[in-house]
Amino acid sequence: MSATPIATTRSSAGMPTGLLAVWWVIASEIVIFGGLLASYIMHRLAHDAWSAHAANTNTWIGAFNTLVLLSSSLAAVLGHKAAEEGDGAKAARQLWYTFAGGATFLVVKGFEWAMEISHGYTISANTFWSFYYTAAGLHATHVLAGIIIMAVVARKAARNVDLHHVELIGVYWHFVDVVWIFLFPLLYIAK
Amino acid sequence: MLEPLFQPFLIDWLVPSASTYADDIDFLWELIFWIVGAWFLATEGIFFWLIIKFAKKRSPKAQYITGELKSQKQYISYPHMAVLVFDILILVFAVKVWYDVKQDLPPAESTVRVIGQQWAWTFQNAGPDGKLDSADDITTMNELHVQLGTVYHYKLEALDVLHNFSVPVFRLKQDAIPGRVITGWFEPTLTGEYDVQCAEICGIGHGLMGARIHIETPEQHAAWMASHAPISLASATPDVSAEE
């Protein structure tokens, strides 16, 4: 495996390379979710009939999922602090709590969707449900990707290897949480 | 207040202008043509002149010019300002022409419904009583008959995919969107038979979706309306493999 290039070790922009790259990932993600949510909001304001469709989303499950993600964000930031102090084991444990939070979120989302589909609200039922599944689906895919990377980072952190990666996956995870913070009212509260 | 400053002739030389606003659009196009053409020739001229003047054999030693000093940058900032001024001039006329053609519709003396669908145009003429969707409407396929000197409003819609109702001689072009009935206007000023083209790709038959527009004098138009039953099919659309 070729050694990591010297280029990675430099920081002429005054920031560690990894963190700079993650912020660029977040910038391009803002624009992806921004485009999707802007389209949803426009359609939602244009079609009053959608509030009747939106009435069929389950606010309690949405609220619980929000609580789960917020708590996993807390665990992620505690993990980041532990990593800064060089305590790999503690950081790994916190990351596994975040992993558990993300996994719970996905499981709960799975049940929620199963229930809604059984009620006949499929993705092609009408355009509200199409946006609902597309937006929540894209977000869930990011949650899934996040927990997979988190597992990899946690296993390395347990051996005190690449502790700076803990911060990187933490910042990405907080972004995924912020997207859900906006998705929750848009899909569940606005009735 | 912003009438064409000169009589345009360039596009008119290629495509007759057969509607009241054709001249406005031609004038705007030509105003841009002369401004932009002059700038282009000047810039390209200076460019080639510099290449020849400062070729290696004529100037073996290059000068050291940073281009950061005010005295040097003026050669850039003056043309830069001039480009901005001309842009504003073009902008004023562009917005005026756009407003006249697309936003400020004169009162309609007659209405025609234009329906684009995958690969044919259906025109619903208002018929003698001048009111659309009345009993005496005349619906034709791929053949639009209009009367000279009458202000027409067209109600343009598409049934399946995007189409575009374009009459080059009128300088008229408007996309037809499924789910919207778009209103525009034209007033023919020249008799004759001209092309109508679909200007938005709409599938395999997009190239065959041509139609003809017949601009007739009031007498010819009245005769046409009288002789026509409500539904009539135009002559078969020209077949595809017309040999060279």
Binding site: S28 | W98, K102, Q103, G203, I204
Partner: protein, 569 residues
Amino acid sequence: MAEAVPAGSQDPHGGHGHHEQSFWSKYVFSTDHKMIAMQYMFTGMAMGMIGAFMAYAFRMQLAFPGMEVPLYGLVSPANYNSLVTNHGTIMIFWVAMPVLLAGFGNFLIPLMIGCDDMVFPRINRLSYQIFLLSAIVLLASFFVPGGAFGGAWTAYPPLSSEAQYSLTPMGSSFWVVAVALEFVAFLMGGINFVTTAMNSRAPGMKMYDIPIVVWMIVIASILFMASVGPLIAGAIMLFFDQNLGTAFYDPSRGGDPILWQHLFWFFGHPEVYVVLLPALGVTAEIIPVFARKKFFAYKTVLYTVFATGVLSFTVWAHHQFIAGIDPRMANIFTVTTLLISVPIAEMCFVYIATLWGGSITLSTPMLWALAFVAEFLIGGVTGIFLGASGADIYMHDTYFVLAHFHYTFYPIAIVGTFAGFTFWFPKMFGRMMDDRLGKIHFWGSIIPFNCIFIPLFVLGMAGQHRRIFDFNAYPDLALPWMQHTREFVTIALLVMLAFQLVFFYNVWKSLRKGEKASKNPWKSNTLEWTTESPPGHGNWAELPTVYRGPYEYSVPDREEDYWPQNQPS
């Protein structure tokens, strides 16, 4: 899609010796930024040949309707639409972007800012592999039942979202998946470029010591990353419309076709600057070298590029003046479109002003670079006709538009690429190209190019619209002079394609028998000319330090007329 293996470049042991790599790890699964640059460049050029073949096929149909086109066969309306659609798609996404943005970006950024590789070599390799997969998926769309997608490279729904209208059910989905994969590849590549350029500059290299091509490619990557997002969301929605029966763009079930147009063109216009800026950067590197003169107003160009970048997010609806958007919006977008022509005009003035006081040698790279400026001027100037909403009423979707964007895309994708390729060929392959063959190829490409697109301007003025496969169906367009013009244009295209063989012969000959290239054949200042040709793994034995800007040519009271960036005194 076997990569053409550059036989000439052995891998002289770089600073830190390492085991002799196998063919696979050195050429196919390499993480060396130079090898990945070659992979991108050769895949881009291969796709360029496929795109050119499509142009040949449908131009023959236009010139001789209904004829059996040699090497292709009969061009039916469906074939014509998919050829035109995929010609546009390939030339922008699979030729201009890989060659200019990824090819030159990967090769030049580490070498020009003095570091040994990209910050994330493995992500860099993965981005090429996803790009290659996207190219394969797109080409596969020609062989699926129903044929390739034929709804124009802009893929406006409902034609692109309803299989019943496009009659290419699988072709449409393959097209969307290929374009989405290509976006993923360039998002990963873009992040690599921006982070490397920002963070791994050589010690001593201040902001204004960075060569302009690095600035341009970084800003192009930022423009791409900030604008592609909504279209990725749009592509997901389009894919669901095509396959899951959703109705994002189906008006009868609550969707809106105009939404896709906005999502597409919000990306579309910054995209044309994404491909323009690298070509501008390549030209900005070549002109000072062959004019032996400092680049005029470096800072002004930088601020102009920032202004153009920001403004490019405010102009997109000039593609949709008559496409059903609210007519009042058209006036706002006319203002912003005419406003953006000002910084671009300034950049052209600065490029021309650089020639003042120079000592110009017209070598092949210089000819290409000057031709870029000369041809792009026509492209830029004809944009004003289309940006002004009033004139666009008549001009929209005619051949005038087609000629306009070929006068911007051809200089970018072909002239800019050949300029960069002939200029950096010695550094990439360690051999010099034959200058005489280079000039023959240059004149053989530029003259026919103008013979193709100047007549198309005139056909556009005559009201001939795009994507119509046989103009005999329109009596006003089947006039003899028009048909003869189409034949003349097609013959000019054949001549231009023939001259490309001169280029391939020149490359093939130079790779094998070209004169060995020294470290700095053009006596240029930038850092890539301070290492061997071709640079080994890790680029330098020890990484350079930078002492001055990249354009210190003909500095008074110095006998050498160039002053490399890494020379202390």
